[in-house]
Each structure stands twice: as structure tokens, then as C-alpha cells.
Amino acid sequence: MSGGRPGRLAALIAALVAVFLLMPLIAVIPVSFTPNRYLSVPSGAWSLRHYRDLITNPGWGQAVWLSIRIGLLSSVVATTLALFFSLGIWMLRPRFATVLMGIALLPMVAPPVVSALTLYFLLVSLSQFNSVVAYDTLPGVALAHAVMIAPFAVVLITVALAQVDRRIDLAARAMGAGVLTRVTRVILPNIRFGVLTAFFLTFVLSWEEIGVTIFVTSVNVITLPRMMWMGLRDNIDPAIAAISVVLIVIVVTVILAKTAVQILQRRRSARKTA
């Protein structure tokens, strides 16, 4: 241990856990090639019918497009609000900053089902006054998603701001720069990576959101996770396996590409210093 590597037993247990973590993801693959209409392992004949189904059934395409729109809308709203808020906390250092932060992070720390019921209450109440931002509408779902993902954007942007040397902001102020100049010319350029990350993460969170979505949609707004949920509840539709394989391939590709790029960069910088 001390300074050295963990023992063999630890490595063995970790390997078993790693297998446990990957097993269900791998299990999806054979199931997606079953020729049957029900969940089963293909014996002998493999079939692409469920992949074909993803293309021929317009429901899947519509669900994907809907999820993208909701994701963009809610992540833009959430990231913008979070950016203002985090900048405010960082620049003004208000009294009770921890309390304000607690309020901002509430939807993230509350039990998901309580948030879901709360947002259900909100949208049902809003439905009584208008039909645009309402229960089972696109703007309504985007609103609910924005509430759920905004705290994550706050966390990421606050972390990015914590890396910024406060004195560069003081220096800008001392030179007569107003709030707008300080934000746009001095602070934002130094946290743009954090803001982009926040935007990306909140988009992914909205894209995957299901707990709240189940509560605030019924028949009109069928996001991709909502569609998968319907295919999972009662009779399991093997098309879910096909779409799952597609999603897994995307995630694995992105993560492997990112890891490869990182490793290459590290090698290059190592060579430079050597």
C-alpha cells in the first residue's frame, strides 16, 4: 500500500465490479438482434428488424427531435440563469451567500420524486391559466427540465469561477471598468470552458431526463426517454434494445475519442518537456 500499488485482492474485486458495471450494457447487444417481438435471446437466426423499426416507425425520430428541442431550450435557459447567478455570487459576495446557494441547488438535492410532484403541481396549476406553458406541452416540459438542470449549471460555473484570480477583477475595477466590461471582457473569457461544459452537461441531463418527465407528460409530449419508458413498463419492446445499443455506441465513441485525445496530448506535452 504505502506509496505503492493496491494488493491483488483489491484488483480482483475491482475487476469483478467493473464486469458488473459493464455487464448490462453488453447484454443489450444480443437482445437487440432477436427476431421475436418479445424480449429474448436470438437462437440461431439474428435479425435487424428492430433497427429497421427505429427508422420506419416515425415515433422514434419524432421523439429524438423533440428531446433535442427540449434539451436546447431548457439548457439555454438554465445555463443563462445559472451564469447570472454564479457571477452575482462571485462578484458581489452577498451576505447569506450560502443560503442563496442552497435555494439555487434545491432541485438537485431534493428527492427526484418530490421534485417531480412539485413540478407536476406547477404545470397543472399553470394549465388553468394558459395552454402554452402547461402540462403535457413542449414549453411546459422544457420549463420543468430547466428547473431540474439549473443547479448543475450553477455548480459547474461556480467551480469555474473559483479558479479565477479575484484580483484580475479588482484590477479591472480599479481601472474604472463597469460591471458589463468586467463580465464580458475579463471574467467570461476566463470561464468560457466552464460555461460550455455547463451547457453541454445540462443538455445531456435534459436529454436523459425521465423521472420528472413521466409526471408532467401524458400523450402529446413523448420525449425519447418517455418513449423508452412506455416500451419498458408492460410488454417489453425489443426496439428498446436497438435504441439502447445506438445510445451506448454514441456514448462509448465519445468517451473513447475524448480519452484518446487526452492521452495523445499528454504524450505530446511529455515529449515536449523531455
Binding site: 494488493g7 458495471l21 435471446v41 455570487i89 438535492v109 420524486v113 396549476s125
Partner: protein, 273 residues
Amino acid sequence: MSNATRTFVLLGPLLAFIGLTYLVPFLGVMRWSVTLPEPGLGQYQAALSDPLILSVLVRTLRICTLVTLFSVLAAYAVTLIWVRGSPAQRLAIELCILIPFWISVLTRAFGWLALLSNRGILNEWLQSLGILSEPLTLVRNEFGVIVGMTHYLIPFAVFPLASAMRNLDERALMAARGMGASRARVFRNVFVPMTAAGILGAALVVFVFALGFFVTPAILGGGRSVMVAELIYLYIFQIPNWGLAAAVSVILMVAVGVLLALLMRVMRPPVPR
């Protein structure tokens, strides 16, 4: 711009947003809990005396406790390798944590169905080998729920543990080795106690998450081992009793609030001596 205007412009929007879309509606939910179907604390009484609801609460606690135990143990081994293993081991573990973490909870639950259900891979395989004649029931029960939730929550336990292990003072370990302690002894008597705060933090995070968790139990429990979150769903959409759903939600919120307060104490110890 005066200071007050700045505060208002910068902090106002998000606070107003969360206030109007979350705090106010939550007050509404609280109102439901004491007004539906009739004014009074009847729903709270019902929630805490109805044997059905009590059995759900007990099951929820049992499942959450087991899931917490399993995820933290599994995460501890994984994190150990991730933080202190060889570069190749680290990379492999990192991928095994990150890939499931970024994959939707639905896909992951479905993966367990594909693996464990009656016509799933495991049962087919065991039957084709002749080990089983009848399929084993591995999902649509508490076992399935525990497996699925543990799988979902391991990455969330890894992150607090990793930060605890990274911040550990290497010199204490070397000192212990220097005093002639065996590897196993150093691990048990020095390393584990030094990461105790991380273990407790990870356990609390996982437990809090598990309490309000809805999707995985609903899919892998198949309506047969209902947990408190699914109960709330049922009281809203299947057997409408909004007052009871609201009361159970408020109870859950309070429980999680207490646990989070505990978490704050653990993560930020009062004054290090």
C-alpha cells in the same frame, strides 16, 4: 448601476425562477397534504399508520440500506484501483465508471432486464447447459431492484471516495510502513480510518439518492416491490389520492433534509484538531 440594482439583476432571475417554479409549488404540495380531501392532518396520520404504506416505508429503508452497503463496498474497491492503481488499471477503471455514468438510467435498467429476466441471457444460458429446468425469477422482485439500484449508484459513491483518497496524506502511510506494519495492517488500521469521512459521505449521498429514486425500482420491481417514490406516483396517476401523495412527499423531503444536514456535518468537520 447601484449595488442593489446589480444584486437584483444578477441574483434575481435564478432566485425568482426557482422561487416561482419550485418553492411556491412545493408550498402548494404542502397545502394539498393538509387540504385534500379534507382539511386537517388526516393524511399524515394515514401515512404513518396505514399498514400498506408502512410496509412500503420499511421496504424502502431496507432496500436503501442494502443498496448503500453494496454500492459503497463496490465503489471502495474500484476507487482504490482508480486512484492508486497502475496507469493501465486506472484507465480501464475510469472507462468502466464513466461509460455507465453517461448512459441513461433507462438503458441501464433495460440491460438488467435483458440479462436477468425469464427469457434473458442468464436464464437461457443456464437452461441450455441443463443446470436449470425452470427459469429463476431474478427481476420483478426485490433482488432485481437491489441489483439495478446498486449498479446505478456505484459511480455516485466513487466520486466522494476518490476525493477522500486523493487528499490523503501519503506520509502517514509511509510512516506506518516504516514502523514495520504489514500491508494488510496499514490498509485496515491506517488507510480505511483515514478515508472514513469519504466513506460516510459516499454512504449518505447514495442513501439520499436511493430514497427518492423512482425509475429503476419501477422497471425492475415490476410493481411487486413498490418503494416510496413509486407509491407517490401510484397515488397521483393510478389510485388518485393527491393528499396522501403530497403527505408522503413532505415526509420524504423532511427525511432527506435531515440526512443532508448530517452530510454537511460530515463533509465539513467542525474544527480539525
